[in-house]
Symmetry: D3
Subunit: 305 residues, 6 copies
């Protein structure tokens, strides 16, 4: 459905941004990270990077992460001091479909004409496109999850309707959408096969907000999301995993999956109380049995990869 | 399940109402619209009317409206000054099933024995039925959507259980139910094939309220619903469309559907940024292509009707 | 502060209303009670009436009611079947100041241009004033409490700012204001000496609503308020007392006050457990002592009146 | 997923409990019912009991109760003075799947090290297991519904993850789970075929709480649940039925089911207004017809049992 | 105002309780602590005890605690592992008046006639008073704060009206009231000079609940309160301090008060940035100055005691 | 009370910032505005600036603004396109005390060790102070209002306790505090004579957050606050006025004050309906009278300045 873009003074503001890529001192958005800053603030990233410095978690990691659940991430991150990487309270478009991808972040703030006028002028100087939701959406890459801070806004806080949702799905190869705000056209969107997490749905166009940052640190509820975080959403909520912890989380999860398998096999035998087996077996014989099972299965799993 | 009607002093109050149809000066409910007032306050209605003056949006319009989404209505009404015709925050019984029909409105207020006693006495004079939920429900017509103002009440605010829900479904030919209040027997109702929107479910009978109006203007959240409004509900929320705007909304929606088709065809080509194509194409060639596509498809659609 | 009135199509709609007083068939507001209906629905009123039929609880009753608390009303009304006459959840302007007066009710609904246009036209025919908040406010009488149903609206739901609040205070002789909605100019209003109960304060003008009834039954939270109800507000909440129950409530409260006096005198003696004395004394001697105290004090109180 | 048990000082506290079974004066949990107290407080139970005195509603009753809905229970309990036996506001894991079973109750309170230390010491004296969630879970029987008071806690209020949920399912033969608190591993749990009602889901382990009672009276929202209550959950909410009322509820429900059947058959004929037939038929002929239908169908149903 | 006690089956239930004091095996309330259990679960109490075993924090400690604020308690308790001893979200009757005293705890649960009947019968056997709010209130001692778990109930959850509030004030010598529930007669209570913390006010009598424990562990929001805890309430919220930590909290607070004095004296000099002085001085000279000031003032304070 | 600063990795991070002032390319905080950017984004500021480019609304304007109310600002800003400059929903420390000053903005985000580590390292290189709440507070100037975005955080979101509140009061000469988050030590703070607006109070220290910007655009509820905005708070809420609109707002308010004066004088005469006088007089004579009064009083007021 038509016109799901910011109207008003924001139109035509983006020129400066494009110019910025060539000419660093120019800056149309309020908040930006230069390539140097992006690399600096994500210095622990062990993987490749996009041309703008954003960490690029490899596709192989993304595929492995489809087997993760929120609980398995919880088993690793808080112990490393990352206590604020989980957020819930979203409406989940397809509860049975995991969302996994690289965070592409977008920030909006309540509109102020005086600030918009300045961004406008800078943009017009350079002849760039409008600094609006489509400006950001046009930059999406395969494997990205679009992560949007719209400060919980409902009326006017609708990042996409069904046409742009369709575009995001195509551009990210079904990566996903997280918006601390709203979507419109829920009726049309509900038939599209991309995971999405949103606070509410509303028929209004996006309005009364201004785009203030693309691929900058954003706040989604109680999480600081960095561009390039590995985003993992299940029906419970969303984890934003710093790239440097992705492998450890996944390796740990392999063990957990095996532990789950073995635990349920034992429970199926019907001979044990839960505490005989779980968290870890009491009986030394059983403990040994489990250790052997774990070693064998881990070897199998790793052989597959 | 039995007894989903108002108990207590309200029983047997409705005689006066029936008499009223014959003898206008009598008035048992607190709030009424005479036929003349109904016509006067809905004077812009371009369609036929029911015998009591309520606008009767034609069945053909109702059928076309099954293709509408909330967003498409939003594209027309606010611009016409109708800023308060949308309401959400309901539990939706069958999210995949559109609700379309003519508003049949019912109003309740918190019970007061002194007022009920008066309505009671008037009713007994004329020998009519009880002024309760069934009194109103018995007046439903095929194509109606029952729209009930129960001021958000949960305990005791249950307009129907499964038996009366079944009756409403039969009487309206599956039209639908909107209640700013509750239903009971959700378990039984969930298997019935009529759309329903409600704030909550509760096992209690309807109680501690009095019927104060049938086919009068009612307040559903932030909307003033007039009898005869075209009601359109999708999984996002409900639009109450004044009859005089129904055609315009539908014609506009036809264009939107074509625009959506074309936009996605272009996105499928994978050659364009979202802003090259959407909201409207930048390139004059593409613009022309779209105009031609639109004209052709509109002609096809209209030929079908 | 200026312009706290409804703008837009509502301006100039009230002519029909004034004409209505002379010529009953004309009706500009959606909801009205004729004088006959007002009398009929408040038939149990034992007191005089205003020219429009609204019950007029005498000034002497109003003065006695200043000694009431919400609990004392609760001791009488539910037992008479009036279970829905209390509402709380308001911001209380002057918690230390009781509010007592006769309910003057006003009803608003969300604006619809089609309905407003009709009211407008009817009003213009008769040359009356605008059908807005001031139209109703101009009808206030000494001893009234202005009771406004603005369906909880905050932004645009501001019945008065400080200038009109000042006028209401003058016109009602400090009667009071209850609004299921908002006020503006809280800063200015807080210095004025009239009780007021409101859901919120907001700087916006009243907007996007239409006046649909004056001195009709209105809904304030979970209460049906009838014009002429005796309104009693304390720091806890508000009771709307049907006129026919006013005397009984007050007589009962006299006894309660004496019971309180005696109970505390006994507690002050420090010799008793609470259950020796309260709710009623266990010991027959004490019971007799209390009965004598009650009789004596009641006689004194009644002699004063 | 691993480690869904209470960590910290609670570990190893349960010895005293086990000893308690043999040696009644010992008491490790804060709250207990001895066998004598259990029998005394559930004296009206007409059925067998478990060894610890908990009422054991027979399997035949449990099977019949699978046909119940919340409304049918409401039709009996309040009239018997049981006004507080229904609770809703839960997330329902499998809305299409009824939950029926015997209440096995568990109570937690916010952790205090001084109290935990005492329970700990008592437990160590006797060499028992940890007083934690698994301690209680290990006592579950086929046909039980685990009913847990975790005072609405989300973070740290997770009674089970998917492994222990699997164990509960096996141990209760799919009985069910009610927690006024949270679960973890919703992703894993959602594939398991046991009914569950919970306030929220969270990835955290259970933490910062202490187990204070097993099979004691617990508070679930506004209900006092007694061990052995018949628990019936549908998509609307949960009823906790005292054993002594189970048969009456079920017999009444049989009649209601027949009444529903007949009512809808009549509605299907399309000849009647709802009030002609429902709540009970107006016409004496119809009334007789219904009575005969009821008698015949009741006989059939009872013959089947 | 009259009759603020539980009506219905609860009346006359308390006999067994009184008998219980003499004859331990009898138990009318659902939850009790024997004297032995009370002592066992509060074993770390360094002070005297009441005859029933409840810790009796000395009056001198209570007096010193009037100088405490919530922050000063926070500075000690969590570090000792007591992370759940603070609760807020109350309405505070007299925000300018500290509340300090010994916790006297009372527990209610939603009423069930079958359980009440049993308690009733046990009570009648012994000829004791009703098991209701007054039963507990009559046991209050000077210096107590009445701490009531009414599970947040508003309508019917009113522990006292103004007469019983007056009694509590007299009996506790102005100790105080905390109720996770409601009070009635706020108008009358607001003139009485005792601190009180409550969730809401309502005109209803206490109803539909049963007294299930006196001086047992109770849950107030997220806190487990033990009988005899030192209760300290300021305008921010309430701390429940285990007796064994009372002295340490107070000694630490003395230092904090001196630190505050010195910090502000320094700030008054206007020569320093906040971080030069606070949390602790950067400059070694200043650090020394502070240490000397602290030592001198501590000596003065301790000399006064 | 001691230690109201961020603990953990944030300590010692600020060196880079200070260095930044001299050496622009260094940047320790995530978000900053260079002097050039500050001037660019506040280009319409008609007044002087601070050395870092922040607009400096003159003291004379601040003094005049003490007479403003929220409604008077509302009369100007939305019409200029500034629809998002008002926020409410705060606890107001001193409702009777206006807050007026220049916005000094501070931004926090949820803590992430990887990002903090980077800021830390940059800071250590330069030897600067900790990047915490005190780092920002030490930069306050007389006339400032400290405006803090702590994203509504309560536990751990406490920007100051009483000692730092005292410092802020001294440093800003009583300017004020707005925090979309919490304060601690409400008990101590409530006796200090500086206006403050906060979401909640909590005894915890500030924790689990990182300072990410000083004097950058921040979001307070639905407002984008720019450094140097004129902040005006009354008991209703807070307006953030762009400097370029300050004079117009004040001039308009002068007229409103006169209009209020005159309106009430007329109402005091008791001869008029509210609509005769307000919003503007109907009668041409009265209109003229008002115009003359306005002219005279405006002249007087302007003569005083």
């Amino acid at each position: 459905m038509i016109r799901s873009t910011i109207c008003g003074p924001a139109i035509g503001l983006a020129a400066a941004l494009i110019a910025t890529l060539a000419a660093p001192p120019v800056r149309a958005q309020l908040n930006t990270l230069t390539k140097e800053q992006m690399i600096e603030y994500t210095a622990q990233n062990p993987f490749e990077r996009f041309p703008d410095g954003r960490p690029k978690v490899p596709d192989s990691i993304i595929e492995r992460a489809r087997g993760l659940s929120a609980e398995e991430v919880f088993g690793v991150l808080p112990a490393k001091g990352f206590r604020n990487q989980y957020e819930d309270g979203f409406q989940v478009l397809h509860p049975g479909k995991k969302m996994v991808g690289r965070a592409f972040t977008v920030q909006f703030m309540p509109a102020r004409p005086d600030v918009e006028t300045v961004m406008n002028a800078k943009s017009h100087e350079k002849g760039g496109p409008a600094l609006n939701n489509q400006y950001a959406i046009d930059m999406l890459q395969p494997g990205d999850v679009l992560v949007v801070d719209l400060f919980g806004k409902k009326d006017g806080g609708t990042i996409v309707g069904d046409n742009l949702f369709y575009y995001v799905m195509k551009a990210t190869h079904g990566g996903g959408l997280v918006v601390d705000g709203a979507i419109r056209d829920l009726e049309g969107i509900s038939e599209m096969d991309m995971p999405a997490y949103f606070r509410s749905a509303h028929p209004s166009y996006i309005a009364n907000v201004m785009l203030t940052g693309v691929n900058v640190p954003v706040r989604i509820g109680n999480v600081t999301v960095m561009p390039g975080d590995l985003v993992v959403g299940d029906r419970e909520g969303i984890y934003f995993i710093p790239p440097q912890l992705a492998r450890e989380v996944l390796d740990k999860a392999d063990e957990t999956h095996i532990h789950d398998e073995w635990t349920r096999l034992k429970f199926d035998e019907g001979k044990y109380k839960s505490s005989d087996i779980y968290g870890s077996p009491r009986d030394p014989e059983l403990k040994k049995e489990y250790q052997e099972y774990l070693a064998k299965r881990l070897a199998e799993i790793r052989a597959q990869k």
